[in-house]
């Protein structure tokens, strides 16, 4: 397209005025839409009255405030957004692969080192320790789901089902067979891996969105069975689980307890510290296995599958076994995390395994940048830390969480850490922007 001749100077203020007019018009429309959206649902609050019938109160000031906020926000956005974005772009150079790779080379060990000293820093603070184990649990779940979503490109919306299978395997085995945590841990992983296979077989032929919906259905079925099979699982009342032992030594003040055996003074924090190190070890194991698997033919097959299934088949990769291994691998780590969750909580019920949990883990993987291990760990920390930070705003935090999910997919579709280390490299290892990695498909795909 040829550049039109620059307009004469006199018209510039006129153009600017037009700009402002257009922005005001747009803001007015936005405010009108906001009014329509919120007039009933926010402007009027329904409440059950003393007789049981619904009564309502009006909140028109709140409504007016929100509409005004939308108006101003829209105005600011259209007038200042372009300038602010340009300024930001100048201040923050687009992270190219090399810088990001250097940062992540130092950041990852630093992260692990920090994770290892957390119990020393917060020995007296059981709340911080609990939060740290929670973050580590979700990091591990994120790593596990990352195998399925990030590496193999299979969107799994029912990941929490495997978490539930692991947790209930431990709880029920401990209750009915009397096995200890350490014998149950591998069994929980195996059961969950089988559940992954069970899910994997039927969905082999499905792709993309359909696969996602079937996994969602699977997750819900598992939860509903746990909820309704009262005589076996305890139904909504849940099951209580025994506390973990240090390879047979219980964390009690008794003579055969952990503290007495090692000649230490008994402290309740010992159990928390042990649990924390346990989950960090499990998460690191997951991370290590994932990183090693990426180098193996199976890992490369996963990534090839993510990029293009048809090309994959044409190259002679067995897509059946590739998908099944991805599902069962991811499921196994979910199951291990579930067994840990059960022993940490001391009590589990189907309440803990709703679709919301699956969405949270998925959000962690997406936010972290699908396929990036460090990204997942950072995302889990940011997200759960954020949840704790805004605990007072309990009601609003899920709202913000959902909005953040939308915003991230729109503004940073590659996640926080948007570089990947390629599995195969020529002379030197360097990270590449994720946009290159995953765009192979989207460029040509037209929805049918």
């Amino acid at each position: 397209m040829s550049e039109p001749a620059p307009p004469p100077r006199e018209s510039e203020p006129a153009a600017k005025r037009l700009d402002i007019l257009a922005a005001v018009k747009e803001a007015a429309i936005a405010a009108l839409v906001a009014f329509g959206l919120f007039v009933l649902l926010i402007g009027i609050r329904t409440e059950q009255g003393p007789t049981g019938a619904l009564v309502f109160t009006t909140r028109f000031t709140l409504l007016a405030e929100i509409v005004a906020a939308v108006f101003v926000g829209s105005l600011l956005r259209s007038l200042l957004w372009a300038r602010a974005a340009a300024l930001l772009a100048r201040l923050l150079p687009r992270s190219d692969g090399a810088i990001a790779a250097n940062v992540s080379r130092f950041l990852a060990p630093a992260f692990v080192a920090f994770a290892l000293v957390v119990p020393i820093l917060f020995y007296r603070n059981s709340y911080a320790l609990g939060l740290a184990s929670l973050i580590a649990t979700y990091t591990m779940l994120g790593f596990g789901l990352n195998i399925v979503v990030g590496l193999a490109g299979l969107l799994d919306l029912g990941y929490v089902a495997f978490y539930a299978v692991g947790a209930y395997s431990y709880a029920l085995l401990a209750q009915y067979v009397g096995l200890s945590f350490w014998s149950c841990l591998p069994l929980a992983g195996i059961f969950a891996a089988f559940a992954g296979l069970l899910l994997g077989f039927p969905v082999l032929r499905l792709r993309g969105d359909y696969l996602a919906i079937v996994t969602l259905g699977f997750g819900e079925i598992i939860r509903l069975i746990l909820l309704n099979w009262q005589n076996f699982t305890g139904g909504p009342n849940g099951v209580s689980t025994p506390h973990p032992t240090f390879f047979g030594l219980p964390f009690t003040a008794a003579d055969d307890g952990f503290a007495a055996t090692f000649g230490l003074a008994y402290a309740p924090a010992q159990r928390a510290v042990f649990l924390y190190y346990l989950i960090v070890a499990l998460a690191l194991l997951t991370n290590w296995v994932t990183l090693r698997l990426r180098r193996l033919p199976i890992g490369r097959a996963w990534e090839a599958l993510r990029e293009d299934e048809i090309a994959c088949r044409a190259l002679g990769i067995n897509t059946t076994s590739t998908k099944l291994t991805a599902f069962s691998m991811g499921a196994m780590f979910g199951g291990l995390a579930g067994a840990f969750f059960a022993t940490r909580q001391g009590f589990i019920s189907p309440e803990s395994f709703t679709f919301g949990e699956s969405a949270l883990v998925l959000a962690i993987v997406v936010l972290g940048g699908m396929g990036s291990q460090l990204g997942v760990a950072i995302a889990a920390t940011v997200m759960l830390g954020g949840f704790e930070l805004f605990r007072e705003f309990e009601q609003y935090r899920m709202l913000v969480f959902g909005a953040a999910m939308v915003a991230i997919v729109i503004y940073r579709p590659r996640g926080l850490v948007s570089t990947r280390t390629p599995s195969v490299f020529l002379h030197q290892r360097k990270a590449v922007p994720a946009a290159i990695v995953q765009d192979a498909r989207t460029g040509v795909e037209t929805p049918t």
């Binding site: 649902l41 609050r45 259905g217 729109i410 498909r441």
Partner: protein, 304 residues
């Protein structure tokens, strides 16, 4: 036998509601190939809008039930379609050329937003509405069991039939319908021959949301309670209906809706009421695996 006929009536009523929601899924999937995961929550917003609009109308003195319901229907359709439009504009349009899982993830986020927004704005407790439409007919009696057809059931089914007829006419005959069918076949070609693709997609969301609002109102009248979480299950079931009937096919959505309604009702009546949702999910999985094109759908040919 009488019991069976009664369940048949109940199932068709429930299925009509699912069918209305399923149209929204099937149209959106047909045109842009994404599962609008937030559509179930749009239905929930529709039910809440209808409830609040009704309360307001009663408070300002519109007490004639038929007039009030008609006004509620209009208000709910208008405001809910605004939600459909906004959701598309904010969460889906920027992602039209993003990677293939992006719209679905964004839709899940939007679903969480809508659910929690309604929870924050209106509270988490269920909202009851006393039955507005009473009465009905006893069709026949036998073995101590009377088969009843209530007025509300008649209204639900008749409204659904009218809307379906109108909507099918719109898709088959009007300019907008033609644009929608063109976009469904090929977005790029449709744009090349001068169809405003963005506008057509927006209108598709608007229409889908309006139909979901009607379903919301019907749900409210039929069950008499709503809460902020009804959208999830109803959404999954309606999506199952859309897939069962053949995604992209309008008669298929209605047929699938009625089948799902019947399966759910019969399962509750003859097997176990606790596992009725399991039945719905199991049907979803079985259909997707063995009949991915649905009953009336066209097979999807994948080209490289």
């Amino acid at each position: 036998m009488e019991y069976f006929v009664q369940q048949l009536i109940n199932g068709i009523t429930l299925g009509s509601i699912y069918g209305l929601i399923a149209i929204g899924y099937t149209m959106v999937y047909g045109i842009i190939g994404m599962i609008n995961f937030a559509h179930g929550d749009i239905f929930m917003v529709g039910a809440f809008t209808a409830l609040i609009a009704f309360l307001v109308l009663v408070a300002v003195g519109v007490t004639a039930v038929p007039l009030a319901l008609f006004l509620v229907l209009l208000v709910a359709m208008a405001l809910t379609s605004l939600y459909g439009w906004t959701v598309e504009r904010i969460a889906y349009r920027p992602l039209r050329h993003s990677f293939r899982l992006a719209p679905l993830i964004s839709a899940i986020g939007m679903s969480i937003v809508l659910q929690n927004y309604v929870q924050v704005a209106q509270g988490a407790r269920v909202k009851p509405l006393p039955p507005l439409i009473r009465g009905g007919y006893t069709l026949f009696e036998g073995n101590d069991f009377a088969v009843r057809l209530s007025n509300i059931q008649i209204i639900v089914v008749v409204t659904t039939l009218i809307l379906m007829a109108g909507f099918s006419f719109m898709v088959a005959r009007t300019r907008l319908g033609r644009n929608m069918r063109a976009c469904e076949q090929d977005l790029k070609m449709a744009a090349l021959v001068g169809i405003d693709v963005d506008r057509t997609i927006s209108l598709t969301f608007v229409i889908g949301a309006a139909l979901a609002a009607v379903a919301g109102l019907m749900f409210l009248l039929y069950y008499g309670v709503v809460d902020f979480f009804i959208g999830f299950l109803a959404g999954v079931k309606a999506f199952t209906a859309a897939v069962l009937g053949g995604i992209g096919s309008l008669p298929g959505a209605m047929l699938g809706g009625i089948l799902i309604g019947l399966i759910e009702t019969m399962w509750s009546a003859y097997f176990s009421i606790e596992y009725k949702d399991v039945a719905a999910f199991a049907v979803l999985i079985i259909v997707l695996i063995f009949l991915p094109t649905g009953i009336l759908g066209r097979p999807e040919v994948e080209k490289v």
